[in-house]
């Protein structure tokens, strides 16, 4: 001990000799113990800062979210959604076409939060009843938003959307009051219809894994898009595939150079499911769904 006791570095601590056995106070710690305690406090602080930093790094991508994501149907507005989703994936489990995916670190908007990548696999309402909403335990997905919660401008649907697959059922509508996005012809120049072109073959090639419910094939069971080749005079795949009545039609337009062209036009009933984006055969898709957008009138 004598060697350790010679003051070398921690001179400040040994400046005044510790008062021995002052009444009511604990006996002073040995220098060794004091150093140990100090090192431990430092470690505690460092580890604490580390965990804290890691936690914040989990928040940063949310704070700086660059890209909006398509959420499952019935999702609350983004901020409320992120706050209330418990990241259980029960919505993932019930989806018959596995449209919903949980986010990873690199997706940059909260680990474990569900989203839909429409180009890979859109929600085509194969479940008939928007089951993901039913499965959600926290109300992050909901049929009916509580009155005090904000509604994005243009998110409200004028009427409950009619699901084409259920059109002749006694209850043909979908229990949805707000859209999750809006489809828009973002690349009109590449749209085959705009160019007056036909389409023949598999919409997304032979390797595409996405599924879609084709009523002409089976009202209940979705099949692979690759197993359902098309042959049309003028491309209208997005119009054919749209599961919502009156959401999209092919219209005649006069282009700037005065020629008549056909073009897909999105209407108010569009819920933003993304089926049109998934099916569009051009690469990249000519029509896309804009996540979280509201209805701003036809353009």
């Amino acid at each position: 001990m004598s060697e350790n006791d010679t003051p070398k570095v921690g001179a400040d601590e040994t400046a005044s000799p510790p008062v021995q056995g002052a009444a009511g106070t604990k006996p002073p710690l040995s220098k060794e113990r004091r150093l140990q305690a100090r090192r431990r406090a430092l470690r505690t602080f460092l580890l604490g800062a580390g965990v804290f930093g890691a936690a914040l790094s989990g928040y940063l991508p949310v704070a700086y979210a660059q890209k909006k994501r398509l959420r499952p149907p019935g999702a609350l507005d983004e901020k409320d959604f992120l706050a209330s989703c418990i990241k259980c994936g029960q919505c993932v489990q019930v989806c018959p076409v596995q449209a919903i995916k949980l986010a990873d670190l690199s997706d940059g908007f909260g680990v474990g939060v569900p989203h839909i990548d429409a180009r890979d696999q859109a929600c085509d309402f194969s479940c008939d009843a928007v089951q993901c909403i039913l499965a959600c335990p926290t109300g992050a997905l909901t049929y009916k938003k509580p009155a005090y919660m904000s509604v994005r401008p243009g998110a409200k649907l004028a009427n409950k959307p009619i699901l084409l697959a259920k059109e002749h059922d006694p209850e043909p509508t979908l229990n949805l009051t707000e859209r999750i996005g809006v489809a828009r012809l973002t690349r009109p120049e590449s749209c085959l219809a705009m160019q007056g072109k036909s389409f023949k073959g598999q919409a997304r090639g032979p390797d595409f894994k996405g599924k879609l419910r084709y009523m002409s094939v089976d009202r209940w069971k979705p099949i692979k898009v690759a197993d359902h080749p098309y042959d049309v005079e003028l491309c209208d795949l997005c119009v054919q595939a749209c599961p919502i009545k009156g959401a999209i039609t092919l219209e005649t337009v006069i282009t700037a150079d005065g020629r008549q062209r056909k073009t897909p036009v999105v209407h108010e009933p569009c819920v933003g499911c993304g089926v049109c984006e998934m099916i569009c055969p051009t690469e990249p898709a000519s029509i896309e769904v804009l996540p979280g957008e509201g209805w701003r009138g036809e353009s």
């Binding site: 431990r40 406090a41 470690r43 505690t44 580890l47 604490g48 965990v51 804290f52 890691a54 936690a55 914040l56 989990g58 928040y59 949310v62 704070a63 901020k79 409320d80 992120l82 706050a83 209330s84 989703c85 418990i86 990241k87 259980c88 994936g89 029960q90 993932v92 489990q93 019930v94 995916k101 949980l102 986010a103 990873d104 670190l105 690199s106 909260g110 680990v111 474990g112 499965a135 335990p137 926290t138 109300g139 509580p146």
Partner: protein, 327 residues
């Protein structure tokens, strides 16, 4: 409950929040007598008896049951999803068992703090889970269900092996940090309106990775935690950081199921303290510390049963409060 046990009960709660276990200020008369008697016993005799007990084969009964349960529960999630048998849907943060909502208390708390609004399903799910873990014993979740615990247990074995080989040293930190971290995560949820903790919760990450094979990158964070535990700090996450553990620990305060210590046959050799994830709850086995002849182990205990398996004299046993009286 004797006066000394009542005091100890309160002290154990403080210990759970990070206080260091103290020498008891009050010890029951009958326990004092036992302590006295032990001092008078022939030292050589005691040593011989210790040796004889320790030589007994290693007992892994509870550990095996526990691992089996943990694997079964987590597999049930995986199987339910992949074969669509709809028995246990969801993940550990929230699930549905045969239609019943089950919601992890800590996750629910985070969501409520972030969202500042509670819906009925959330309340029902939390209620079911609360009742379940009150009955099963709060932190039982940690050792019998949490998939990170399972990985960390293996990392711990590796760590102890390396320590024994003098390749690494264990560097413990201040246990109060866990309480601080709980408060920080609660505040973060409240202020940011986002469940910040869930982004780094290894429990949720591992559970989702198992079930949905999603969040593979997030598993790197879990791996980093495990590596840290192997090389620097024994069971760092569970001991010093995890808010889930503390939340369930609080539930454990009122749980009737716990481990009970019997002073009589104990040799105070401390094998139990060596295997325990939360050795501060076993301070009572230190010579002269037991405040009564029978002392229940504190709420921070994960009821893993490692000490029960290890104790050569059977001085630690699972126990249900009040059951002895009923029978």
């Amino acid at each position: 409950m004797s006066a000394a046990l009542k005091r100890r009960f309160v002290e154990q709660i403080k210990v759970m929040f990070g206080a260091e276990p103290q020498k008891p200020a009050l010890i029951e008369e009958r326990a004092l007598k036992v302590h006295q008697l032990k001092r008078m016993t022939n030292k050589a005799e005691l040593a011989a008896a210790k040796e004889a007990h320790r030589a007994r084969e290693k007992n892994h009964k509870w550990r095996n049951w526990r691992w089996a349960t943990l694997i079964f529960v987590n597999l049930l999630f995986v199987v339910s999803y992949h074969f669509d048998i709809q028995l246990l849907e969801g993940a550990l943060t929230a699930s549905r068992f045969a239609g019943f909502h089950l919601i992890d208390l800590n996750s629910a708390l985070q969501v409520m703090l972030a969202h500042k609004h509670i819906i009925t399903n959330l309340l029902i799910g939390t209620g079911t889970v609360l009742v379940l873990w009150i009955l099963l014993g709060g932190r039982t979740f940690c050792s019998w269900v949490c998939p990170y615990h399972f990985l960390a247990e293996w990392a711990e074995k590796l760590h102890l092996f390396l320590v024994q080989k003098k390749i690494v040293t264990d560097t413990p930190i201040d246990r109060r940090w866990r309480t601080v971290s709980w408060v920080i995560f609660a505040l973060l949820a409240l202020v940011t309106g986002y469940t910040v903790y869930e982004a780094i919760s290894p429990t949720g990450i591992v559970s989702r990775a198992l079930i949905y094979s999603s969040g593979i990158l997030a598993m790197l964070w879990v791996l980093a935690l495990l590596v840290f535990e192997v090389f620097f700090m024994r069971r760092a996450w569970c001991r010093y950081a995890c808010p889930i553990g503390l939340t369930y620990g609080v539930v454990g305060i009122i749980s009737p199921l716990r481990v009970k210590y019997t002073l009589q046959g104990c040799f105070h050799e401390g094998d139990c303290r060596k295997v325990c994830l939360v050795p501060h709850v076993l301070d009572t086995v230190i010579k002269g510390r037991a405040v009564d002849t029978e002392v229940p182990i504190g709420p921070d205990c994960t009821r893993c049963g490692l000490c029960v398996d290890t104790c050569p004299t059977g001085s630690l046993k699972f126990d249900i409060k009040g059951l002895a009286k009923l029978m």
